[in-house]
Amino acid sequence: MSDTEAHSVAYVRDTMMPQQPAPAGETGAIRWLRENLFSGWLNTVLTLLGIFAIYLFVSHFYGWFLHGVWEANSIKECRQIIAERWGPDASGACWAVIRERWHQFIFGFYPPELYWRPILAFALLFVAIGPLMFQFVPKKVAWFTPIYPFLAVWLLWGGSVWGPVLVLTGFVLGGVVFMAVARFGSIMAFSVGAIVTILYFLFAVGPLISLFHAMIPVGLESVASSKFGGFLLAITLGVGGIAMSLPAGVVLALGRQSDMLLIKTFSVIFIEFIRGVPLITLLFVASLLLNYFLPPGTNFDIILRVMILVTMFAAAYIAEVIRGGLAALPRGQYEAADALGLDYWKAQRLIILPQALKISIPGIVSTFIGMFKDTTLVVFVGLFDPLKGIPDFIRADFNWKGIYWEPFVFVGAIFFILNFAMSRYSMHLENRLQREHR
C-alpha cells in the first residue's frame, strides 16, 4: 500500500479485537443437534418419538439388568435376594446360572480335566489362519496351516496319535502320486491320485493305525462326540464348515460355468437342490437317513456327518455368491489370460479367482455368519447347541427350572461378538485389497 492511499483512507483500526468464541448456538453440540435432529418439524417429531421409544425400552430392561444377581445357588435363591433388596415386585436377572454353568455353555460335557485340549486347539487356530488373514504374520508360519486340521481333530477327539499322522500321510501320498503322474495330463493325474487316496483310506489306513499303535502306543484320552456341546460344538462345526465350504463353493461355481455338460448339470442340480431344501431337512438326513445308506456296523461320527451337511449347505450359497463375482469380471480378463497362453486352471487361479473372490468377500462373509448361527439348529438332531440344547439341559436341573432370558442374553452376546469380529475383519480385508489395487 502506498502512502498516498493510506492517507486517503478515512479510518483504519490499528488495534485488533481479541478473538471471541462463536455464539453458543453456532458451535459444538447445540449446533449439531439443531442441524441433525431438529432441522424441521418432521425431524423434530421423529426425534421426540425416537427418544420416547428408547425411554420405553430402557425403563423396561434397566431394572432387570440393575437388579441382576450373581451369587446364588438356585433360581429360588435369586428371587429371594431380589425381593429382599428391591422389593417384592422387582424383577431381575439371575446371572448366577451363568456363573455356575458357564463351562457347560462353552465346553458342553467335555471332561473338565481335559479343557486344555480345546483351548489349545482354539489358540492354534489363530496360528493356522494368521498367515492367510493378516499381512504382519510371517509367511513362514504357513507350513503349519495344512497340518492344523489333523492336529485339531486329534486334540479335540483324542485317540492314537497314529490316526491323524496316517490320515495326513494318505493325503500326502495322494499328492505325491498326482505329481508323479502329472506329466501325463492333469485329468489323468487327478484321477489316479484320487483313486490311490481312496483305496488307501478304504483298506490301508485302519489296519495301519492298529499296527503302529500296537508298536508305539502314544495317544490322548479319547473323548466321544456325545460329550461335545455349547460353543465348542458350534465353533467346531462353524470352523470346519467354513474351511471346507469355501473351496467347495469355488469348485461348484466354476462347475456351473463349465463347458462340460456333465459337470455343469451336476453343479446346477446340486446348488439348486441344496438351496431349495431347509437346513433342518439336511440335518435330519445327516442324523437318520445316512444310516440306511451306510454299510451296517460303520460308525460314522455324528459331528462329522452334520459338518458335511452344513458344508454342503454353505457351499451352495457361496457358489452362487462367487458366480456373481465371476460374472462381474470383464471378458477381456479371460481373453488376455488366453492370449498369453495360460491354461484354464492357471488362468482361474492367477487371474480370475483372485478378482472374483475379492468382489465376493461381503457375500461370502454373510454366508459364513449365517452358517455359524445356523449351527444352533443341530439341537434338532440331539446335539447340545449353546442356544437351546445346553439351556434346556440346565433347566432340567430343579435348581434352575424356570430360568429363561439369561442364557439367551449370554449366548446371544457371545455369538454377536464372534460374528461382529468376522464382519469387521471382512471390512478390513476389503479395505486392504482396495488400497492395494488402486
Binding site: A336, D338, A339, G341, D343, L350, Q355, H437, R438
Partner: protein, 263 residues
C-alpha cells in the same frame, strides 16, 4: 484421421520381409450362428511383414485377427501359424498362443497385480522362466516402452497411454514372433496416441511381424508394407500403402478412404 500422430522419420533398414511364411490362411470361413462373419479369407503373411487391416465397423477385422490365436474358432478352411495348424488340439493352440502376442483395444491388464507382476506372470507360469530372469526381461521391456519407474504401481494408477504400453510390454515378455494389435489406440485420448504408436513403430523397426487393425492411416503409411481393406467379412482390396491410398481400385475402398481421411 487427418491429425498427424507420427512426427519422426522411420528407419526402415531392418524392416525386411523374408520368404518364410509366418501365417497362412486358406479359404477360411466363420459364422456366428446364421451370421456369416468371415467369407473365404485367403491371406499369407511373410515373416517381418507389417500389415494394417482397415475397414468399416462390423466388417470382421477383429474377428479375423482373433481367429489367428484362437480367441475365436473358425468353422471352415485352414489357419497355419508358424508351421502349426490351428485345430481343436489344445497343445497346438497353446504352442501358437506362446508365439503370438496380442494387444487389445481396452488393454486388459490384470488390475490386481502390479505392473511388474503383469509382465512376469506369463513367462513364469507358461514359459517356466526363473523368476529373476523374468524380472530382468520385464524391466528391459518396461524401459523400452519408457516407463520403468511405474513397475511397482497397479494398472489403475496409470494413464491410458501408459497402460497400453504396459500391455505391449507384457506381450513382448513372452518373446513372441508375431504381434496382433486390435485397435490399440482407439480407446486413448489424442495426446496419448502418439506415445503408443511410437512404441509400435520401434517394434516394426526391429523387424517384428505385425498385424494391426487400426484407423491410424499415418501409421499405415509410415510403417506398413501392406494395407488390407475389409468389408462385409471379405478382403476387398490389398496393396502397398502408397498405391492403396493414392490409387484405390474398388468403390468401397474409395468411399471408406474419403470418409476416414475427411476429404
Amino acid at each position: 484421421m487427418s491429425e498427424p500422430h507420427i512426427e519422426r522419420s522411420v528407419d526402415r533398414s531392418h524392416m525386411q520381409v523374408s520368404d518364410e511364411v509366418a501365417i497362412q490362411i486358406e479359404n477360411m470361413n466363420k459364422w456366428y450362428g446364421q451370421f456369416h462373419v468371415l467369407r473365404d479369407i485367403d491371406l499369407t503373411v511373410q515373416r517381418g511383414e507389417r500389415i494394417v487391416i482397415a475397414g468399416p465397423s462390423g466388417s470382421g477385422k477383429s474377428t479375423l485377427i482373433r481367429c489367428i490365436n484362437r480367441l475365436e474358432e473358425h468353422q471352415q478352411g485352414k489357419i497355419v501359424v508358424d508351421g502349426i495348424e490351428l485345430t481343436n488340439d489344445l497343445k497346438n493352440i497353446d504352442k501358437i498362443r506362446r508365439e503370438v502376442g496380442m494387444v487389445f483395444q481396452h488393454f486388459n491388464l490384470f488390475p490386481h497385480l502390479t505392473i511388474l507382476e503383469n509382465l512376469t506372470l506369463a513367462p513364469i507360469w507358461v514359459r517356466k522362466t526363473p523368476k529373476k530372469e523374468a524380472i530382468d526381461t520385464a524391466m528391459h521391456f518396461l524401459e523400452k516402452v519408457k516407463i520403468p519407474e511405474q513397475a511397482d504401481k497397479y494398472p489403475g494408477q496409470l494413464s491410458g497411454g501408459q497402460q497400453q504400453r504396459v500391455a505391449i510390454a507384457r506381450s513382448l515378455c513372452m518373446k513372441p514372433r508375431i504381434m496382433l494389435f486390435d485397435e490399440p489406440t482407439s480407446a486413448l485420448d489424442p495426446e496419448m496416441i502418439k506415445e503408443v504408436l511410437d512404441t509400435m513403430i520401434e517394434l516394426a523397426e526391429e523387424g517384428m511381424t505385425m498385424l494391426c487393425v487400426t484407423h491410424e492411416m499415418g501409421f499405415a503409411q509410415a510403417v506398413a508394407n501392406r494395407v488390407i481393406f475389409m468389408a462385409d467379412g471379405q478382403i476387398v482390396e490389398q496393396n502397398n500403402p502408397h498405391d492403396f491410398f493414392n490409387n484405390p481400385k474398388s468403390d468401397r475402398t474409395k468411399q471408406f478412404l474419403s470418409q476416414i481421411l475427411g476429404h
